[in-house]
Amino acid sequence: MYRTQLQKALRLPRVSQHHARTVPLQARAAFSTSGRRDIMGMTGFTEEQLTVREAISHICSKFPNTYWQERDQEEKDPKEFHAALAKDGWLGIALPESLGGAGLGISEATMMMQTITQSGAGMAGAQSIHANVYATQPLAKFGSKEQLETTIPNIINGTWRTCFGVTEPNTGLETLKLKTLARKTDDGYSITGQKIWITCAQVASKMILLARTTPLEEVKKTSEGLSMFCIDIDRENPGLDLRKIKKMGGRAVDANEVFFDNYKIPANTLIGGENEGFKIILHGMNAERCLLAGEALGLGYAALEKASQYARDRVVFGRPIGQNQGVAHPLADAFMKLEAAKLATYHAARLYDTNDSSVPFHEIGVACNSAKYLAAEAAFTACERAVLAHGGMGYAMEYDVERYMRECFVPRIAPVSREMILNYVSEKVLELPRSY
């Protein structure tokens, strides 16, 4: 059995060829052939989920931690990573087969996102494709034939990237109060207003936009009067201004303030019916929570793998620091929290995919929100303890855990805060009076 060295020698060229284009020399060493087993429990996943995990791991192995360190530091978009996933059809994972997608569900898409963050790509890797996976869901379901035929294939094959334009500066959680106005003109709409935290707007060519087509004062219920559009991002147009936000983590991927000032769009950009936008957007929200939960899990497991590796290797007072229970127990505790959150996450995804009337809608909402909450908290615990287990080295960029730590705040804050999830569960499950 002369596999090890021979196999290393035979496989390395295949990997390093890719590296030659995308990453510096030192990255070659990052290709691990030690083949440690996954610390995450792998039982209970479906065959599809395991297939997805395996295939995505292959692609991610071409993008080692050093690639992401560099992109994070230089705030450079990981376009090669997006292109690699698009080339092999992964952006269409949850889109119907009739539109060129794979027709898989959120259970598989969640596994894909988890595998991406867990590979070391972190939230930056996930966010570089995130919107292309979930913001296209309402488009696929409610879009016109023309929209589907022109847009979806180009998003799947990576020609067009898309971003999701919902959040506004003064209406973060109060989506219903959003103010961006799409005023009807002779041949379409004219948009005026402001959006914030729009990820990938600098590199996207499309935006799925939620805007008000009937002013707030004129609607009976706040959930009325919103419409959804799939618009072009024309950076040359003076009616559009994009401003990058400097941020804590995931620096490879841009987040923006977007200003619209009489930005004209054609009538055929409307998705579904006018004033039906809120109904349409609700469709994607639970799916997004599942994906975020998966992304958080991946980040947590990645941090914990690094921490346990370091605790095994680092010797102080003549023994590995991991032999000290003061180091070991917090990591063991973080592991159990991740495993529990994992069960909650894939349970929620399964409920979402079940799509039959036997599961009440609010139960899906509770499951998806709980999953996002639990996974984000478990990831935070794992990342924080990973930094501490590394001691001073945890503060060094080279050891990656500080990057994971910075990024793990994203799933804690977005797309909905922890507090709002607690409010939701208090009200919907425990039937306590609403506090806001």
Binding site: M1, Y2, R3, T4, Q5, L6, Q7, K8, A9, L10, R11, R14, Q17, S32, T33, S34, G35, R37, T51, A55, H58, I59, K87, D88, G89, W90, G92, I93, E97, G100, A102, G103, L104
Partner: protein, 283 residues
């Protein structure tokens, strides 16, 4: 020749990146709970079959049949092969007995039966499986069929419609090009190609491709053993691994051609010759 009907036998082995552990009884390696994947050399064979189709050479590829013999997990690697581009697959169900599976001759006989039954005219096999490292199956199959064979191919080219095939393989200090006629057996080596990753649409399509289950008995082959594994130990392997690694590294970093020879010197007379030989320490 009407069309190429290619058979690609594949094996499910412990993943190349995993360090195998010897079992307690010293009869083999631990396989339970260990990640398995498609034997890397077989990946090259599948890739080459698919490339032969994509190249649109003088003979059209009519069928690519992947085949694997083994336990209930075998379909995993067959799906991978189909996701890479094989059209259909046979799973020859051989119960796992912890004895390392059927011997090469049994496999070769089984392949011989499939070749006849399925009217195959080209068999592409990995030169060896990275678990048993026997490297015998391809050669035995060629013998049983009475077909020409080229081993350890680094390039395969179909030259004309009559079925002339040119195969290159690497030998010491260079490459050797061989010509043969279909039907034939080719075993594949590392530098033949760079296997692709299966794309998501192809993974999905592979689920719908036909996978037929058969037994050795269906093919009229008996699983007889001629060899008995006495003992498997771990001590020597790291050393052997290291040696093979060094040899490989030397080959990889050496130029394709040996360094040019320096021209010889001329001597005037016998005395000069003797002097020169003494100088070089030959006398």
């Amino acid at each position: 020749m009407s069309g190429l009907r290619i058979l690609v036998p594949v094996k499910r082995v412990i993943d190349y990146a995993i360090k195998p552990r010897i079992n307690k009884a010293q009869t083999g390696v631990e396989t339970a709970g260990v990640k398995h994947s498609l034997n890397p050399f077989d990946e090259l064979s599948i890739e080459e079959a698919v490339r032969l189709r994509e190249r649109k050479g003088p003979i059209k590829v009519e069928d690519i049949l992947a085949l694997s013999a083994g336990g209930p997990k075998c379909p995993d690697v067959l799906r991978t092969a189909m996701a890479m581009g094989a059209d259909r697959a046979f799973h020859i169900d051989v119960p796992e007995k912890g004895d390392g599976g059927p011997e090469p001759l049994t496999i070769a006989k089984m392949l011989q039966a499939v070749v006849k039954e399925q009217n195959v005219n080209l068999v592409l096999l990995g030169k060896q499986a990275i678990d048993g490292d026997q490297g015998q199956t391809g050669q035995m199959l060629a013998g049983l069929l009475g077909w020409p064979q080229t081993t350890q191919a680094s390039k395969v080219e179909i030259k004309d419609e009559a079925g002339t095939v040119e195969v290159t393989h690497e030998v010491d200090g260079g490459v050797e090009t061989l010509r043969a006629k279909l039907p034939m057996v080719i075993t594949t080596d590392l530098r033949l190609n760079e296997p692709r990753y299966a794309s998501l649409p192809n993974i999905m399509k592979a689920k719908k491709k036909p996978l037929e289950k058969k037994t050795l008995a269906d093919l009229g082959v008996e699983d007889t053993r001629r060899l008995k594994t006495l003992k498997v130990t771990g001590m020597l392997f790291p050393v052997l691994d290291f040696i093979s690694f060094l040899v490989l590294a030397l080959i990889r970093f050496r130029d394709a051609e040996p360094p040019p020879r320096k021209g010889g010197g001329k001597v005037e007379d016998v005395d000069g010759l003797v002097g020169k030989l003494k100088e070089l320490g030959a006398l």
